[in-house]
């Protein structure tokens, strides 16, 4: 359908057409629904009480069905009330905002990480080294955080910048190797992840970093001056709201990425190299420089995640631990894929996954459903979104222009 015919039709007709032909947004929505449905099946199958009712399914099917319904309802209700709004626990502004605060807190590192991976995608690079860049960034931010005491604002800024620096250097290394020798970024970043993890383990044994009062592997705590200020603690009874100004950093990073990709010369070069490296080279662009810049900025953004981990809310003592990365390097990949590597899409993807994680914790506490199911649902959403023909086939959509994948197939040689 061309633009002119689409304009003539009424808006309702257009929405129905889009639904029949399976537009991109509908495929995404159906992917989420389908992933949640698979999650529901997992909840039912793994519940021992519900399994019990299925043993006499054919004599009294009502029991099994109502037990299944109850199990799923309890779990998903906890998911919703933990992530969005809990009507039973909303007697003042602070408690009403509690779930949203948790969702945004979880979404902050996901957004920053998703932007980082998405930016590399745009330049045709697959950065699975988020974990390593995050760790190096966290180490740098932690070091500045516990050595520096200064006027509020300066210390935290210095610590965040140290995180950016660490991540950017570690990321640029990948770009440099790729540009100079053609070493595939995927394998290099996997190796650098392991190297960073081993380096972190060593750092936590040195006297510079190791917290002398603790026996476990944990660093010194970041000084109070270097902590990211909380955003909602001024509300009455709001001291429990964890949302911190990392969210502002993430918002800033979103605007920066949008500007970089759609308004700057460098961003144009990145996208050109990502779309067709040979054509970009013919047009006089330096492919190597673009790759190095893309990996450097991507690593820098992952470094911000490392900084927000240490300076924010990851653990009560605001210190480095061997688990400081919390798997974010890999979750960020799914966020970027769901957001189709665009900054705006990444915002929505991060909010969705942040909500799933915040709600997942409530689900674990209230319904006894392990939070691991959130990882399953996230992976399934991305898998379905990546394969629009599968969704179209399942829901009998007629299929039209296929939604653009975030990354074209290339393999090791590309």
């Amino acid at each position: 359908m061309s633009d002119t015919t689409a304009a003539k039709r009424s808006p309702w007709r257009r929405i129905i057409d889009e639904m029949v032909y399976g537009a991109g947004w509908l495929v995404t929505l159906l992917s989420i629904v389908l992933a949640m449905a698979v999650g529901a099946i997992l909840i039912i199958v793994s519940d021992p009480d519900v399994r019990g009712t299925f043993s006499y399914f054919f004599s009294r099917p009502g029991d099994a069905l109502s037990a299944s319904g109850d199990a799923v309802w309890t779990a998903y209700k906890a998911l919703f009330t933990g992530a969005i709004w809990n009507p039973e626990r909303s007697w003042n502004a602070a408690t009403a905002l509690g779930p949203i605060s948790e969702t945004l807190t979880e979404a902050t590192p996901l957004l920053l990480g998703g932007l980082a991976i998405g930016l590399a995608f745009k330049a045709g690079l697959f950065n699975i080294g988020g974990q390593g860049q995050l760790i190096v960034g966290a180490i740098c931010a932690n070091y500045v955080g516990f050595t520096m005491t200064g006027p509020p604002g300066v210390a935290v800024l210095a610590a965040v910048l140290a995180g950016v620096f660490g991540g950017a250097v570690y990321g640029a290394l990948v770009g440099l190797l790729k540009a100079r020798t053609g070493a595939h970024e995927v394998i290099v970043t996997i190796m650098l992840n392991h190297i960073a993890a081993a380096f972190l383990a060593w750092v936590l044994t040195t006297s510079v970093f190791k917290n002398p009062t603790r026996n476990d592997a944990i660093s010194k705590s970041v000084s109070d001056d270097a902590l990211l200020p909380r955003l909602l603690s001024w509300l009455p009874e709001g001291s429990g709201l964890r949302l911190n100004s990392g969210l502002l950093l993430a918002a800033l990073a979103t605007v920066f990425c949008w500007w970089l990709l759609s308004r700057s010369t460098l961003g144009f070069e990145l996208r050109a190299v990502g779309a067709n490296a040979a054509a970009a080279r013919t047009a006089g662009m330096s492919v190597g420089r673009s790759q190095i810049m893309a990996m450097m900025i991507s690593g820098g953004l992952m470094g911000v995640v490392g900084a927000t981990q240490v300076l924010g809310t990851t653990n009560a003592s605001h210190a480095l631990t061997p688990q400081v990365d919390a798997g974010l390097g890999f979750t960020a990949i799914t966020v970027a894929l769901l957001g189709r590597a665009s900054p705006v899409g990444t915002v929505f993807a991060a909010l969705l996954f942040g909500a799933l994680q915040a709600g997942g914790r409530a689900m674990q506490a209230q319904a006894g459903v392990s939070i691991e199911i959130v990882g399953v649902i996230q992976a399934l959403i991305v898998l379905f979104v990546a394969a629009p023909p599968l969704i179209r086939g399942l829901f009998r959509l007629r299929g039209g222009e296929s939604a653009q994948a975030a990354l074209a197939s290339k393999g090791w040689n590309g």
């Binding site: 070493a183 996997i190 199911i373 990882g375 393999g411 090791w412 040689n413």
Partner: protein
């Protein structure tokens, strides 16, 4: 992996580039060996002391070797000089590929032994237990790498080996515990790996999803599924659903009595023997059978293979399924081979190391074996050296194989090249 992404002007002068690589590599070898000479041979730690290498496992029953005791400093000096001469040879002479590998192997051997002579100065290091740790750590890497080789030789990149490990380990532990039968557990673990490989192939071939991304997402799916299953079902009653079980070691008469390597290699359980056999089977299948020729043709030039009547898609599905079986078997090893109950995320990145072994081993089964042994050895060595209280932090030893892989893919040790159609879905025009 390397050449095709270089700008064309860098492609033309191949020979000088290669010569320069040889020079840099050789100089690096000499410099590192001389550093070793200074640090290991002439340092205070080794001066006037003896190093002892124990050469028997505590469980060894056959011939026992006497402990090897020698003065630390002179031996370290000689070994480092030998290593340095390997580097000099590499600078001076152009060697054919096989001799190059031998030279590099000799260099590594001399350097590592010099390091050990230094690390264990005035102490005793059990070499046999390092070798055993190497073998135990290498088994899943070899099986996972064989899975990767089969897939990539047919043109499908399998980054989901980690996921196959986890699924195989989880289901093997669960089925073995509930049924009480190790064999059924192993069968279940192997099969789930195969089915997961098939799933990857379907998404890659039918829905044309980028394969590296796909593998990462599928690994996350498997991590979530096994973690959820573990916490929700297995943890509810560990004695019923998740008891540690293992195949009993099988002693090969005669060979198991050999000193040093006997108990390490010939007193293991069936999975180790099968893994060794599978290396041979995959090698012969890939390079000496009609199926292997077709697989390689599909991986290099699917259009040409299709033209002569090879069913490209079917070849890839079968290879990914069989590869998945092997990776699932690697997962079975993690629980039923090592006598460990399943735990969340227990593969701990081994699948990604197996992927590195595929590339480090240049997409060949035998190369993958050497790469896996190298990775396994570095792990076993750093565990053993940890007990020696050396000034070198063991975490740095742990990094070495990863650094080596980076050097390998960056072309500093030699160029690696993937099958030409690796990672590209085949669609008929």
């Amino acid at each position: 992996m390397t050449a095709t992404v270089l700008p064309p002007e860098n492609l033309a002068p191949v020979a000088p580039e290669k010569g320069r690589g040889r020079l840099y590599g050789g100089v690096a070898m000499v410099v590192v060996a001389l550093y070793g000479l200074w640090a290991f041979g002439l340092g205070p730690r080794t001066s006037g002391t003896d190093t002892t290498f124990a050469l028997n496992l505590s469980s060894a029953s056959g011939l026992r070797l006497p402990d090897l005791t020698f003065p630390s400093a002179p031996v370290a000096i000689v070994l480092c000089l030998l290593a340095a001469s390997c580097g000099v040879i590499r600078i001076l002479r152009v060697l054919p590929g096989r001799w190059n590998a031998v030279l590099l192997g000799g260099y590594l051997f001399c350097f590592v032994m010099a390091f050990l002579a230094w690390a264990a100065a005035a102490k005793s290091l059990n070499l046999a237990s390092v070798l055993e740790a190497t073998v135990l750590a290498s088994v899943p890497l070899v099986l996972g790498a064989l899975a990767g080789v089969l897939g990539e030789r047919s043109g499908v990149i399998n980054v989901a080996i980690e996921g196959q490990f986890l699924l195989g380990a989880c289901l093997a532990a669960f089925v073995a515990s509930t049924s009480g039968s190790l064999v059924w557990g192993a069968v279940a673990g192997v099969l789930v790996g195969g089915l997961f490989g098939l799933l990857l192939a379907v998404f890659a071939q039918r829905y044309l999803v980028e394969q590296v991304v796909l593998g990462v997402v599928l690994t996350m799916l498997a991590t979530g599924l096994t973690g959820f299953f573990y916490e929700r079902v297995m943890q509810a009653d560990p004695s019923r659903y998740n008891t540690p079980m293992a195949f009993a070691p099988i002693r090969i008469p005669g060979l198991a009595d050999l000193p040093l390597i006997g108990p390490v290699l010939f007193q293991q359980n069936i999975i180790v023997y099968l893994a060794v056999a599978l290396i041979g089977v995959v090698h012969v299948t890939l390079f000496h059978t009609r199926w292997g020729l077709r697989t390689r043709a599909v991986g290099e030039h699917p259009t040409a293979a299709d033209t002569v009547g090879v069913n490209v898609i079917r070849t890839r599905y079968v290879n990914m399924f069989v590869g998945g079986l092997l990776a699932g078997f690697g997962g079975v090893w993690l629980t039923l081979g090592l006598n460990i109950s399943f735990n969340k995320n227990m593969a701990a990145g081994a699948g990604f190391i197996a992927l590195a072994a595929v590339i480090f081993g240049r997409w060949s089964p035998v190369g993958a074996l050497w790469a896996a042994l190298l990775f396994g050895f570095a792990g076993g060595l750093s565990d053993a050296v940890q007990l020696m209280q050396t000034p070198v932090p063991t975490d740095f030893l742990r990094m070495l194989p990863y650094l080596a892989t980076i050097f390998a893919v960056a072309g500093l040790v030699g160029h690696v090249r993937a099958p030409a159609a690796d990672g590209q879905p085949y669609t008929k025009a």
